[in-house]
């Protein structure tokens, strides 16, 4: 059960972005969770509340968007959604495919924040790829 340590990482990342944007409160955090991320949704939701205590995120809502596994099927020449993570075969033609296109996501997509009226900042946050790094993380 590593969801608690994941929840702490999530809260750290969201708090940092919220503080940089001058937020006084975080209302909600939107997360994308792939079916192969190795994270149990219920356990993450449970841990989230604990990890939020005493931060700008206290009392906020965690909104989880679950993403199914998608692979590329060479035979069909298209991306297909797998109905089960136990069977990596195209649901259309039954050809095995390990060419994963979606399913490992464990990302914060966005946060909804309250900012005092006089704080006018440009859009913070990174609009690049999900694995791109924020400057504040660099050493």
């Amino acid at each position: 059960m590593h969801e608690l340590s994941i929840a702490y990482s999530l809260v750290d990342l969201a708090s940092q972005s919220a503080i940089e944007a001058g937020a006084t409160r975080v209302n909600s955090v939107h997360v994308r969770l792939g079916a192969l991320a190795g994270v149990v949704r219920g356990a993450l939701e449970f841990s989230y509340e604990i990890a939020c205590a005493g931060t700008l995120l206290e009392g906020s809502t965690l909104v989880v968007k679950e993403l199914p596994v998608r692979v590329y099927c060479a035979a069909c020449d298209m991306e297909v959604e797998l109905p089960s993570v136990q069977r990596f075969c195209c649901p259309r033609c039954d050809t095995p495919s390990g060419d994963l296109r979606q399913g490992r996501e464990l990302d914060i997509e966005a946060i909804e924040i309250d900012v005092p009226g006089d704080v006018k900042g440009e859009e913070h946050g990174n609009t690049g790829a999900t694995d791109s790094q924020g400057d504040s993380e660099q050493k």
Partner: protein, 224 residues
């Protein structure tokens, strides 16, 4: 007061991923092949690694190992008998290793003097799948005593691995282990994955495993 939506689009484990990325660069620059061994508790990771280190030593190769456990240094002591440098990482109850722990434990080793670095992860088929340790190759072990359907029960970790090693083959007959069913289940969650069968006790399959490591090392060096 104004409410607005801030786009973040970052990996939650991005701190770990970034440490792992730098670690991988550092290890590759030293010419090392790094192997992360994952499996459930009791699948024979330590015995398998012990035999691997011993055989590498006999062949005049150099390797080092980091071994993760919630507590005790029993595994490090067992592995040290193979005559290669070994360090224990105690996670103090945490169910997985993280990239920072690996980085911290490499500090006083001359990495350029090793050809292989093995990381024996905490015995757990769930949590270690989420954490990149900077490895080049992730190897998932499955022992014949665990049952053929383990890959279907833990698809995440099997799907995230590069090679599957079936261990304790010397017990296969006694356990009525159905090797073909196990192979089919591994292929079902990770089509095309290389599967090796081994016994650390008899040494069966170890030369194929070492040949596979050597191939991985050559392939990696060709890329880098």
């Amino acid at each position: 007061m104004e409410t607005r939506v801030l786009q973040i689009r970052k990996g939650i484990l991005n701190k770990n991923d970034e440490i792992a990325r730098k670690l991988r660069e550092r290890l590759q620059a030293c010419g090392l092949l790094t192997i992360n061994l994952v499996s459930s508790p009791g699948s024979g990771k330590t015995a398998f690694l012990q035999r691997t280190l011993r055989t590498l030593r006999e062949e005049g190769k150099t390797a080092a190992a980091l071994v993760g456990d919630l507590a005790t240094d029993n595994d490090a002591r067992r592995l040290a008998e193979a005559g290669m440098p070994v360090k224990q990482i105690n996670t103090d109850g945490r169910c997985h290793l993280e990239a920072q722990m690996i980085s911290d434990h490499l500090a006083d080793w001359d990495l350029a003097s090793f050809e292989y670095l093995f990381i024996e992860n905490v015995g757990n088929l769930v949590c270690p799948s989420s954490y990149d340790l900077g490895e080049d190759v992730r190897v998932v072990l499955l022992s014949v005593t665990e049952g053929e359907d383990k890959p279907l029960k833990y698809p995440n970790i099997f799907n995230s691995a590069d090679i599957a090693v079936i261990t304790k083959m010397d017990l296969a007959e006694a356990c009525e282990f159905d090797l073909e069913a196990a192979r089919a289940n591994i292929q079902s969650v990770r089509p095309g994955m290389q599967i090796l069968t081994t016994s650390a006790k008899t040494g069966a399959g170890m030369s194929e495993w070492l040949a596979c490591l050597s191939q991985q090392k050559q392939a990696r060096c060709a890329v880098v």
